[in-house]
Symmetry: C2
Subunit: 222 residues, 2 copies
Amino acid sequence: MDIALLGGTGDIGQGLALRWAADTDYGVIVGSREADRARAMADEYETELSSLGIDATVESDANPDAAARADVVICSVPAYHLSDTIESVADRLADDAILVSPAVGMKRDDAGVHYNPPGAGSVTALAAEAAPDDVPVVGAFHNLAAGKLANLDADLDWDTPVVADDEDAKGIVMDLAAGIEGLRPLDAGSIANAGEIESMTPLLINLAANNEHLHDLGVKFH
Amino acid sequence: MDIALLGGTGDIGQGLALRWAADTDYGVIVGSREADRARAMADEYETELSSLGIDATVESDANPDAAARADVVICSVPAYHLSDTIESVADRLADDAILVSPAVGMKRDDAGVHYNPPGAGSVTALAAEAAPDDVPVVGAFHNLAAGKLANLDADLDWDTPVVADDEDAKGIVMDLAAGIEGLRPLDAGSIANAGEIESMTPLLINLAANNEHLHDLGVKFH
């Protein structure tokens, strides 16, 4: 199983790349708009993994080439780049490829950070609109604090709700998520249910901003 | 400190009444549209508490009379009854009374349950619009599974995000929440941040519906 992380040089993509490289045997391909930039970050990830005694290869490529080599393509780009990014790789995707959307649309005002969904209703639904009709889209990894995710010294104990209209694709992505130690995927139904998941990300930011003892928040349901 | 639970005969109101009566010395006044109905439920709560060896008095009254006697008034009614309920008690509230809104607007379709906020942006904001100008409104207790909350044999380990535009009122309600064993109040900022909290309730319902091992869900942030 090969996973491409488009926008894998920043934020949530960095943490997912490191965690999958550290915790699983999946092939990890860091994608970026510039192949050189992708390689530089993949080198950094390999160096960091090596410093922890983990001998892992992190591959790299420009986004379309990374996507072409992958079974699962994580669109870890900001929400406002999502449609363009998907369009840039659409005709390169493998026959059974799955697209995964972890992005959240947010806006900030004096009170805090607020959910700011696109007209499609959610960013995951926007990804489904932008994707080719025969490519299943899965929403996952929305509620993970990027800093803690990328810190391999930090033990996770988080849930990630997963939505998709294609049950097989959802199952594959839930298995990928479960490969990361301390991450529990939960089935949240179809893409119509994505907005409530994405809404939790600004809440996590507001809670960290307003409670001194809390930072790098994720969520656990029980 | 006296707490009135308008709509304290059902759902979340029942659990809050039982928990405060069991875990704290606060006066608990169950309110309902009919005083007789409120008394019947208060008797049931007293019987249940007694069966667990807890000798607690649960008072009761019609909603306006219950509200008049309380320092903090919990509007534990469905979202579509919220404005009417607040209007029905508005001119009876004590000088320093605080209103608390735990309600969430939801709608169901084939995919699951979805957040369905009123035009005010959130149910908590709707409560603030309906309340007299000098009465602070606090949003809290949105994400608690009613069945588990009302089952005193069940240990809780949940967070409840709390929002208000009045910091003093927020602090008082956070103290009330902290009086319930296993419930941790978290400051989520102002009422402008309520929508993201209320949105989590349909997510909890969707997760319970789609994962066999999960039911009566609450949330913990860490």
